[in-house]
């Protein structure tokens, strides 16, 4: 590794001071003159036709400025182009308790709240679909009038090679069913947004969004406005975890209201509303049929998943494919069939939460591997070491994997946890479990397919010696501003605190697609390197000629630019900028990053590709009371293949934060629903929409965590870095379940692993039944015929043999949808360019 001065050093993050002084300005911290406040009226019915909405009384309340209903929002929107199924306020029907029906904008929140409760809505209730079984069984009434059929939103089937033959040729076929309950992000910051008309009459919105670019697109479409007349500013998010990645109805409502009223309109959701906004982890039932040889090789995998999507599309089609995408990235699976089905139900929409669609099936696969090891009398770590996917190759489902540090991760946690002295050797009630995972370092394809860069960075340098870096990336706590600034500082040889970051502002910053899919470090980081190297080049020429040495001898370090062979000969960084500015004029550069093209050319092949993947292994130790099922976790060992750690202080925080969130999912968190009693309408409501009752771990619940970073730089990442924000969460849930088996000898094949479920499995064993708690079977689903794709190892070309010619995905798309009858947006310049000018 080339020596670095910023990269790899544990540092205070550049925005650290703002965060500890309370000066970080979150969306709800913005207070503007003439500001008015918005509250939404939400449906009390889970599924109903809207007959009438009477806003008369609300409009007459003193202090009310505006009342809006679905009539003001005729245009639908949604995050995925294939499911624009939302309106900012419901028009014809409501689909879950919490669906917004009307909005009041008033002088203060109290008045808006009072008025919103005076709106009278008449509903005609429709049948409520409370579970996927319900939705599979009954086609009518349909929750949406689009989707595959009935209440099936999407059913997909892909087959890579002759899986039935592969299972037939195996020595053993393991057939297991698992369930992963839904859970939610629970960011401490409630969603907030404030919209206004700027003095030019254009729309500005500040919002706690992870994806300002997609909000920009959604606003342009839903409000039928030119995108160039809309400015989206993503305020730093008080936690996101995927929950602020959709364009939200409340954002569109305040935008519309600000345009109508010509004054700032603010909304901040209350905690109950945040639970109902959701877009979190899909509940997934899954069936793994895995063929294994006696020497522990996988011959083939047949995976079925059933996702409870809730009431809207959200990211659901992508989530569905993600439940089947990454199995082959982790383990060598030569033949693979994946069938996934997402159904609509009358619950808050599910979407992406940390790990997006992959944690559920990761749980199933890792627990099944534990059962396989048990059956084959093999050590689970050793079994996995023998089946790791080969590096730098194409998987059976056409994912191009880069470096793989998984073997080292496994060996590290085995060694550090003293695994061989513990596994199957601890006293009754104490156990250890191991699991592994892999995750994307950024989605290889954009949500709206086009050939534009995924991340853009601009740099401005001037005679002050100051450097400003501009990027559309969004700071959600993960430290993206720090990564951006750290990279620029490293390349230019200055201190991170010499660099000012301007981020997440669609007017000021080049597009970055957003803080999702663990894409920011790799994509923004590569764009930042390009921009900074171009700036260095601009400085190098004039400085080299002044020093009368070849430019390649120059070193940029310690705020100086100097002769590497004679370090005393040089200029300060500020002088270097002045010399260059005098020579070439105003200095600015840009950098861009576009991921490599994916290898799969079949429908569904767009979900899963990534420039490279991270790998993790974890050992979890549990204490289980064999009488009560009470479970606690005293210790976790985790090793993460990060390629290169850019700021170890932040990286450790991501790993430990992932372990924490994984333990919450493993042990207690549930986004669960119940029916109100008939006298209260029988509506389907959230079981516990409060932070007290939705249990999440506190400081008292945290185990000791032993973190190791495996650093073998991947050439695809900036300075060799891969992702760390999501991967380390994934092995925690299966490792907990595997540890419970080691501790008390019962299988809990369902997340969360609660004391009640452990106890029921213990009771089942005592009654002579299988020592297990979990789903008995996988539901019957009428699967479509699979697309047949021959794996690359069997001579395939990445195309499905039975798929009609695919529409080219190079369809015209300037990055922002142009709505019919609306002036198209200003054309965006694609591709990298160096911006230089002379005054």
């Amino acid at each position: 590794m080339k020596p670095t001065r910023v990269i790899g050093q544990p540092r205070r993050r550049v925005d650290g001071r703002a965060k500890v002084t309370g000066q970080t300005r979150f969306a709800d911290d913005i207070i503007l003159p003439r500001m008015v406040h918005c509250r939404l009226l939400r449906s009390t019915q889970p599924h109903a036709r809207i007959v009438t909405v009477d806003t008369g009384k609300a409009a007459q309340v003193d202090g009310v400025h505006l009342v809006l209903t679905g009539e003001s929002f005729p245009i639908s929107y949604g995050i995925l182009p294939v499911s624009h199924d939302e309106h900012a306020l419901c028009r014809d029907k409501v689909r879950f308790v919490g669906d917004p029906v009307a909005a009041v904008i008033a002088r203060d929140e109290m008045t808006a709240d009072l008025a919103v409760n005076l709106i009278d809505v008449t509903y005609e209730p429709l049948r409520t679909f409370a579970s996927p079984a319900d939705s599979l069984e009954h086609d009518e009434p349909r929750i949406h009038d689009y989707g595959d059929h009935g209440n099936v939103h999407k059913a997909v089937a892909l087959q890579f090679g002759d899986v039935d033959a592969a299972l037939g040729a195996a020595d053993h076929v393991f057939d297991d069913v698992f369930h992963f309950e839904g859970n939610t992000h629970l960011p401490i910051e409630q969603h907030a947004a404030i919209a206004l008309k700027d003095p030019d009459g254009k729309l500005v919105i500040y919002s706690s969004t992870q994806t300002p670019h997609y909000l920009h697109r959604a606003l342009a479409k839903a409000l039928a406005m030119p995108a160039a007349h809309i400015r989206v500013i993503a305020t730093p998010n008080g936690g996101g975890f995927g929950g602020k990645s959709d364009p939200f109805n409340h954002e569109i409502v305040v935008a519309k209201a600000a345009l109508l009223l010509d004054r700032p309109v603010k909304i901040c959701l209350n905690r109950e509303e945040v639970f109902y906004c959701h877009r979190g982890r899909h509940p997934v039932t899954m069936r793994f049929r895995t063929g294994i040889t006696t020497d522990g090789k996988i011959t083939g995998l047949d995976l079925e998943t059933l996702l409870d999507g809730g009431s809207y599309g959200s990211y659901g089609v992508a989530s569905t494919f993600y439940t089947g995408a990454l199995q082959t990235v982790t383990y060598d699976i030569p033949r693979y069939r994946f069938r996934g089905c997402r159904v609509f139900t009358n619950k808050p929409p599910c979407g992406p939460k940390r790990g997006h669609g992959t944690p559920q099936s990761r749980f199933g696969q890792e627990v099944q591997l534990d059962k396989i090891a048990e059956h084959l009398k093999r050590d689970p770590a050793e079994l996995r070491l023998g089946m790791i996917a080969p590096a730098e190759t194409l998987t059976a489902n056409y994912l191009r994997v880069g470096t793989i540090g998984l073997a080292e991760c496994i060996r590290t946690v085995v060694d550090r946890s003293n695994w061989s002295e513990k596994f199957r050797k601890l006293p009754l009630g104490r156990g250890v479990g191991l699991a592994c995972s892999s995750y994307l370092s950024g989605a290889g394809l954009p949500i709206n397919w086009n050939d534009l860069p995924h991340s853009g960075v601009q740099l401005k340098l001037d005679r002050s010696g100051g450097v400003t870096v501009f990027c559309g990336a969004t700071e959600i706590g993960q430290g993206s501003d720090d990564v951006l600034v750290g990279i620029v500082a490293e390349v230019l040889g200055i201190d991170p605190f010499d660099v000012r970051a301007v981020t997440g502002d669609t007017d000021l910053t080049p597009v970055d697609l957003g803080s999702y899919s663990s894409r920011v470090t790799l994509m923004m980081g590569n764009a930042a390197i390009q921009a900074a190297e171009r700036a260095r080049e601009i400085l190098a020429g004039p400085v080299a000629s002044k020093l009368e040495i070849p430019a390649d001898r120059l070193v940029f370090a310690d705020r100086r630019v100097f002769d590497g062979e004679n370090p005393d000969r040089g200029v300060s960084f500020q002088e270097a900028v002045c010399i260059a500015e005098a020579r070439v004029g105003t200095i600015g550069t840009t950098g861009s990053y576009t991921p490599p093209k994916s290898a799969g050319h079949f429908k569904g092949g767009g979900v899963g590709p990534s420039p490279t993947y991270s790998y993790t292994a974890a050992v979890v130790e549990v204490d289980v009371d064999a009488e009560t099922g009470w479970i606690s976790v005293p210790r976790v060992w985790i090793a993460h293949d990060i390629g290169r750690s850019l700021n170890p202080t932040l990286v450790r925080g991501q790993v430990e934060g992932s372990v924490y969130m994984g333990l919450g999912e493993a042990l207690m968190e549930e986004q669960a629903f119940r029916r109100l009693p008939p006298r209260l309408s029988s509506a389907l409501v959230h079981k516990f929409p409060s932070m007290l009752e939705y249990k999440s771990p506190t400081s008292l619940d945290m185990p000791e965590i032993f973190t190791d970073l495996i650093e073998h730089p991947d050439p695809r990442g900036p300075f060799g870095a891969k992702e760390v924000g999501q991967g380390p969460l994934l092995p925690i849930m299966p490792a907990v379940a595997n540890a419970v088996y080691d501790a008390v000898g019962v299988r809990v094949d369902e997340i969360p692993v609660t004391p009640e479920k452990i106890l029921r499995a213990l009771q089942a064993r005592a009654a002579g039944k299988p020592a297990r708690f979990g789903p008995a079977s996988f539901p019957e689903i009428a699967w479509p015929a699979p697309l047949l794709v021959t794996p690359p190892q069997e001579g395939g070309d990445g195309r499905a043999s039975n798929e009609p010619e695919r529409r080219s995905r190079r369809k015209a798309d300037a990055g922002i949808e142009a709505t019919a009858g609306v002036r198209p947006s200003t054309p965006l310049r694609a591709g990298p360019s160096i911006v230089e000018g002379r005054s």
């Binding site: 650290g16 001071r17 002084t21 911290d29 008080g238 706590g477 202080t649 932070m691 400081s699």
Partner: protein, 155 residues
């Protein structure tokens, strides 16, 4: 109805006319524009709104502003003194204890109350004192270590 409230906020005398139904949290954020204090639930569940009232940490979302008449209130804006960060702030920034930073003000305030009462708390005591403050980003360990480091720092 508006009521007049006189108290001390971050060692400065404050006099404000505020709606009688408002909580201390709302008056701090909306009327005094001290937005460093956060809210996560407004039901006393998350700890984000903690402030010191006469040196004791309270959840400002559960206190009516009028109850603070004549009290000494300290918010995150009042932790730094003479242009220098409080050792807790410095350690939180240096050691990765603030990720998104949203729960941070409430945790800093709670930790300050702990260190003021117990200058050298054990790790178990720190975890206990902070157990009413939810953090969704860090997994708490870097927070606990930052409090330990601040306890050792000269004050």
């Amino acid at each position: 109805m508006k009521v007049r409230l006189k108290c001390t906020v971050n060692q400065e005398p404050v006099e404000v006319l505020a709606d009688d139904y408002k909580t201390l949290l709302e008056v701090l954020r909306e009327d005094l524009q001290l937005t460093g204090t956060k809210h996560g639930c407004e039901l006393g569940e998350c700890g984000a709104c903690a402030v010191l009232v006469d040196g004791t940490p309270v959840l400002s979302c559960l206190v009516l502003a009028v109850e603070s008449e004549g009290r000494r209130i300290t918010t995150v804006e009042g932790l730094a003194a003479d242009g220098r960060l409080h050792p807790l702030q410095k350690c939180f920034a240096d050691l990765g204890a603030a990720q998104c930073g949203y729960c941070t003000p409430g945790i800093l305030i709670t930790a300050k109350a702990l260190l003021d009462a117990e200058p050298n708390p054990s790790r178990a005591r720190i975890c206990e004192a902070l157990s009413g403050n939810l953090c969704r980003c860090t997994g708490y360990l870097q927070i606990v270590e930052a409090v330990e480091a601040a306890a050792k720092a000269p004050r």
